[in-house]
């Protein structure tokens, strides 16, 4: 179980060591101490390993993650798990802007709050936020599920494609072409399974509302040109 002191080892050496891990590696439990808000920690990992970071990080933590499970015992800066392909990223604290941006797969769990543009351009990633999310979240979200136990800020789901948004609290305002939609049994199932995977108890899928595309914008029809405002 390698323990890396980031202050002593340096970022490049750490990421290089993580990149050298292959499919059948024996070094499956990693611990990183003294992160001190560093950027780009554990980016581009492509191995089924567990990485725990003891502290808060800066930008793009676990970017492009594939297969790994990355747990951050602290908060993260902008772009956590951006472009994640698979695997899991768990943030025990808060996440800054564009968490999970353009993520293709995997699960991102934020146990605190996420800031603005959470899930922007998501392409299949599942994001579960225990707290609130900021404005412009799920902007142009194409696929995947965003589950928010708290509140959402302004312009939720602006220009959304087919991603599913589930918010338990209030939504300050909806973005262009985003509307509330009925919760059907299959949606309760999706929310229930994601809450379970995120380890969130005490909230029920029935408490969530679903939001998604009105489909008047991305199937562009010139009659709706004024929807671009």
């Amino acid at each position: 179980m390698p323990t890396i002191d980031l202050a002593a080892t340096g970022l490049r050496a750490l990421n290089q060591a993580l990149h050298q891990l292959g499919e059948g590696t024996n070094e499956t439990q990693w611990e990183i101490i003294n992160p001190r808000g560093s950027h780009a920690v554990a980016v581009g990992v492509n191995a089924p390993v567990d990485i725990t970071i003891k502290g808060s990080l800066g930008y793009y933590c676990a970017g492009m993650n594939r297969q790994a499970k990355v747990t951050i015992e602290g908060s993260v800066g902008p772009g956590v798990a951006e472009n994640m392909m698979s695997g899991e990223v768990v943030v025990k604290g808060d996440a800054s802007q564009y968490a999970g941006a353009t993520g293709h797969g995997g699960l991102l769990v934020i146990e605190g709050n996420a800031s603005s543009r959470c899930g922007i351009s998501m392409k299949g990633i599942d994001i579960v936020v225990k707290g609130n999310i900021g404005h412009m979240s799920a902007f142009m979200a194409q696929a995947g599920n965003l589950v928010v136990c708290g509140d959402a800020g302004d312009a939720l789901g602006d220009s959304i494609y087919e991603a599913r948004l589930f918010v338990r609290g209030s939504v300050k305002s909806l973005g262009a072409d985003c509307i509330e939609k009925p919760m059907r049994p299959e949606h309760l199932d999706i929310v229930g399974k994601l809450l379970e995977r995120a380890g969130i108890a005490g909230v029920k899928p029935e408490e969530f509302k679903r939001y998604g595309s009105a489909r008047k914008l991305y199937n562009f029809n010139v009659d709706h040109a004024d929807a671009y405002g």
Binding site: R36, G37, S38, H39, S56, G58, Y59, S75, G77, P78, D94, S96, Q97, S115, S116, G134, H135
Partner: protein
């Protein structure tokens, strides 16, 4: 302290009994005494924060 109305610029605040600090990233605050126990959060856009003793 006041953040721009669309939170265009990144900002983070840290507060303890001794100080309030802000910067554009958490990394800038990492050297402050007691930062590990500080309350660290992102200010809301177009919201005035003030402190008084």
């Amino acid at each position: 302290m006041l953040r721009d109305p669309i939170a265009c610029k990144p900002a983070v605040l840290a507060e303890t009994d001794q100080y309030v600090a802000f910067g554009s990233e958490y990394r800038a605050l990492v050297g402050l005494p007691g930062i590990d126990n500080a309350r660290v959060w992102e200010p809301e856009p177009a919201t005035v924060y003030f402190w008084e003793r």
